[in-house]
């Protein structure tokens, strides 16, 4: 029952949060003294042409009126028309969302699969040489800029070793979209050559994004395990003669994961936002690169579409994390 209350509470907060997000993004994008119309219409356009297009797009109206018009459209599921591409934002966004989600999910999977065991090992060998080495590794993961790491990976793995593709989501154009998720689509059509190609193209962007994500997971898992290890139940289980491996990997880990799960939820949202950098370097045709294009072209509607989409995803994931908390730790729902 409490789970349901948490869920309803979270969803109820969704509306004011998204509204606030939209208001702030709208204000920021429109206050900048850029002129998207001049960019769209070309540098040879006359002031009359610019004014005519502004009027047509409603950009000559007061800012508040423009915001109301935008909100009204959004309630109908209309994200508006891209000022730059002249296509519906929803069409542009949804064509790119699968690429970003696929990259983020695989990254998260890799970060969890590597981060949790490393965090546990780090905690179990607290203050050992291994722990210190892992600490340096994880702090580096948090400190290194993604774009720099991405270029370094490209130079080493693609250009020097020749092991991985340099960029792109696939060689050529990929499978005809069914779901838009290339891994799934390749499996559906049974094209394993394509599947291999898709996986190979994911290696470097996933590594780039997974490294800082994994570092966060390691830090939180380590802290959680250290706290749990000093609990009475662990002392009891040790006294009962339970093998240390079982205590650590089953009982301690479960208790320690509560904080980590919160972070994993946040990380997924951050991964989608971070895709802006990684997608640009790796030429990954997702919403991150679309956001960069929209910002550079002062495409107000494009920026708003990206902000609303990522904001909603972030909020929904946080709601999901609350539910997972309840499932992992029954005390949360009592």
């Amino acid at each position: 029952m409490k789970l349901l209350v948490i869920l309803v509470n979270r969803l109820a907060w969704l509306i004011p949060t998204v509204f606030g997000l939209m208001a702030i993004t709208f204000a920021i994008t429109h206050i900048i003294p850029a002129d998207p119309v001049a960019a769209v219409i070309g540098e040879n356009a006359s002031p009359e042409q610019v004014a005519a297009l502004k009027e047509k797009l409603g950009l000559d109206k007061p800012l508040v009126e423009q915001f109301v018009i935008y909100l009204t459209g959004l309630l109908r599921g209309d994200f508006g028309i891209s000022l730059y591409t002249q296509r519906p934002i929803s069409e542009d966004l949804f064509a790119r969302v699968p690429a970003t989600i696929e990259l983020s999910v695989v990254t998260l999977f890799v970060a969890i699969a590597a981060g949790i065991p490393v965090g546990v090992i780090s905690a179990v060998h607290r203050n050992s040489l291994l722990d210190h080495a892992l600490r340096i590794f994880t702090v580096s993961g948090l400190a290194i800029a993604s774009f720099w790491l991405a270029i370094l990976f490209q130079l080493f793995f693609s250009m020097y070793l020749g092991w991985t593709p340099l960029q792109g989501r696939v060689d050529g154009w990929g499978p005809d979209p069914i779901t838009g998720f290339f891994i799934v689509d390749a499996l559906i059509i049974g094209d394993f050559e394509m599947l291999g190609d898709v996986l190979a193209h994911m290696v470097l962007p996933v590594l780039t994004m997974a490294y800082p994500a994994m570092a966060t997971i390691v830090r939180f898992t380590r802290a959680g395990v250290l706290e749990a290890i000093s609990s009475n139940f662990v002392m009891y289980e040790s006294a009962m003669g339970f093998p240390r491996r079982v205590i650590i990997w089953k009982y301690v880990l479960r208790s320690a994961l509560i904080g980590t799960v919160t972070q994993i939820g946040l990380i997924f949202g951050i991964l989608i936002a971070n895709s802006v950098v990684v997608e640009t370097v790796f030429d990954w045709p997702g919403i991150g690169r679309y956001a960069v294009d929209s910002i550079l072209n002062s495409d107000y509607n494009g920026v708003m579409g990206f902000a609303v989409f990522t904001g909603v995803i972030f909020i929904l994931i946080n709601a999901l994390v609350d539910i997972l908390h309840g499932l992992i730790d029954p005390r949360e729902t009592r």
Binding site: A45, S46, A52, T85, D171, G196, A200, F233, G241
Partner: protein, 556 residues
């Protein structure tokens, strides 16, 4: 019941349950081992899949067709409609998927018959009559008619974006007429000497096909932004605005194909310059766009896998000086600025000699550019002499640059150093292009000086000195707010004269006067470096098409 989920449960456990606990512990160990085995097997499978993927990648990249090329461009092909976009960055879709009546080819650019086999100009310079080639067809097999051309002209004016700015002042909507299936007549409202030079921008669309997709009187814009209705050398095969477009050779194109060609061409949007360069070196791409810092050109050259095809282009880099704001409204101050810029250091040191000094408000290699103008040189003493004549009090100047374009930032820093020697304080403001563009159109809010380029939209001196320094374009293309009635007279006459020789003299005189007035800070003309993979041949460079017309390319 004994379960270990939390501290609370462990506290209620009783020692008498030891045997049961031991049995449960054994079960746990067994389950854990089984789980560990499953995880290990899964990891192995995943690893194998990854290795398999990498191996397959090698085989996949090895299957690249010899008659196919991938061209990486730093601009997104996010709109394929030839009448909505007119920027140089997206020229490839217009050149390869569509045709105009005439086409600019080579360098210096020559206006060649294309869809039109001939044309006539009336004596008053107001009527242009074109005869279309016989047998020319669109990609769907329907014939290209004069009606398609006339409707395309009306569509450009109706949409009022892109290249419309070239025509709105001289062509009325509905005035273009199809005299018969192969003859189309443009009736200008006033003579325009540059009309012919702009005709290549009238890209002909398949009228019937586009009309089928018109929604709410939108001239089919929504549909044509993601589809194609042309007759170009390549027909659209696949399009994804996030990736680019793929074209398939149109064998029935009205210009006969040579012996060697590309059957398929892919224009891919690769935003990062570094990614384009690495991709070209690695062989992922065969061509990339050519305007990049010289150190990157050297990097490509040294790779051993790339050919560089150097040519002087027609794309000037200059400082836009606000001529209508104190103290820049004083010619002495503008001359002081011109003498305070270290041209040699900028061209030879910062740009490693990769650009050509150009002291004119137009490329030095186009007709109409006076050859006797030496322009200004770096001479602080002369600059100080002119500064001494300035009556307005000196104030801090704002120098604008384009964010992400290091050339503009380097030029600004160099000018700032020169101004400092004159005792003129200045600050550098870096704005994204859209912001800079918007500010430059606002006389009150624009910078005192900003640096930018002017590309070739049509190969006529008017594209530069006419657009940039005529009073009639103040606030749109004339962002210097420069106004000189004598220059206007020359430019106005040049715009209606039908004599090439007369026009040449008029533009030469206008350019001299603009330089004498120190109306701008004219620095260099760009060189085009055209990097291609060593096996790609046949690339033809024209400043209008940037060497991106794929029909001449082939692979050896």
């Amino acid at each position: 019941m004994f379960t270990i989920y939390s501290l609370k449960h462990t506290q209620v456990a009783k020692p008498s349950d030891t045997n049961r606990e031991y049995e449960m512990m054994k079960d746990d160990v067994m389950r854990l081992r089984a789980q560990a085995n499953r995880v290990a097997t899964g990891c192995l499978r995943a690893g194998r899949a990854l290795v398999l993927g990498l191996v397959m990648l090698g085989s996949a990249t090895g299957t690249a067709l010899a008659d196919r090329a991938v061209i990486a461009i730093g601009n997104a092909f996010d709109n394929l409609d030839p009448h909505q976009v007119f920027d140089v960055g997206r020229v490839a879709s217009r050149l390869n998927l569509y045709d105009g009546l005439l086409r600019w080819e080579d360098n210096p650019p020559v206006l060649e018959p294309w869809l039109a086999e001939s044309y006539e100009i009336s004596e008053d310079g107001k009527t242009y009559t074109f005869t279309l080639r016989e047998g020319a067809i669109f990609h769907d097999g329907t014939p290209i008619t004069a009606e398609d051309v006339a409707w395309s002209m009306d569509r450009i004016l109706g949409i009022n974006k892109g290249a419309a700015s070239l025509f709105v002042d001289v062509i009325e909507p509905g005035s273009t007429r199809a005299l018969d299936a192969r003859t189309v007549q443009f009736n200008l409202s006033k003579p325009s000497a540059i009309f012919l030079a702009t005709v290549p921008e009238i890209h002909v669309v398949n009228m019937d096909l586009v009309k089928e997709h018109i929604v709410d009187d939108d001239w089919g814009q929504a549909w044509l932004s993601g589809h194609e209705a042309g007759s170009g050398s390549y027909a659209l095969k696949r399009y994804d605005p996030a990736i680019g477009f793929q074209g398939e050779r149109f064998a029935e194109h009205f210009i006969p194909w040579g012996e060697k060609y590309l059957d398929e061409v892919e224009f891919r949007y690769v935003m990062e310059l570094n990614s384009r360069i690495l991709g070209l070196i690695a062989g992922d791409f065969q061509v990339t766009d050519a305007y990049m810092p010289y150190d990157q050109i050297k990097r490509l050259e040294e790779s051993g896998t790339v050919d560089i095809n150097e040519q002087e282009s027609m794309r000037i880099f200059y400082g836009v000086i606000h001529n209508n704001r104190a103290p820049m409204n004083d010619i002495n101050f503008r001359k002081a600025i011109n003498y305070a810029f270290d041209y040699d250091s900028f061209i030879n040191d910062i740009n490693s000699g990769s650009v050509a000094r150009d002291p004119l408000p137009m490329p030095g290699n186009i007709w109409g550019a006076p050859s006797d103008v030496e322009g200004y040189s770096y001479d602080i003493e002369k600059a100080k002499e002119y500064m001494a004549k300035v009556e307005e009090p000196v104030r801090e100047l704002t120098i604008g640059t384009i964010t992400g374009y290091s050339t503009t930032e380097e030029a600004a820093a160099l000018l700032q150093a020169g101004l400092a020697e004159l005792g003129v304080p200045s600050k550098i403001v870096s704005d994204p292009f859209t912001v800079l563009n918007a500010r430059s159109m606002d006389e009150q809010n624009t910078y005192d000086i900003y640096f930018t380029w002017k590309s070739t939209y049509y190969a006529d001196p008017h594209n530069w000195v006419g657009e940039l320094y005529s009073s009639s374009t103040i606030g749109s293309r004339n962002n210097s707010y420069y106004s000189n009635p004598d220059v206007d007279k020359l430019l106005d006459r040049a715009l209606i004269s039908t004599s090439m020789e007369e026009r040449r003299g008029l533009y030469e005189d206008a350019a001299r006067m603009v330089v004498d007035d120190a109306a701008g800070l004219f620095i260099y003309n760009t060189k085009w470096f055209g990097p291609t993979s060593k096996d790609l041949k046949g690339q033809r460079f024209s400043p209008i098409g940037n060497g991106l017309e794929a029909r001449w390319m082939y692979r050896e």
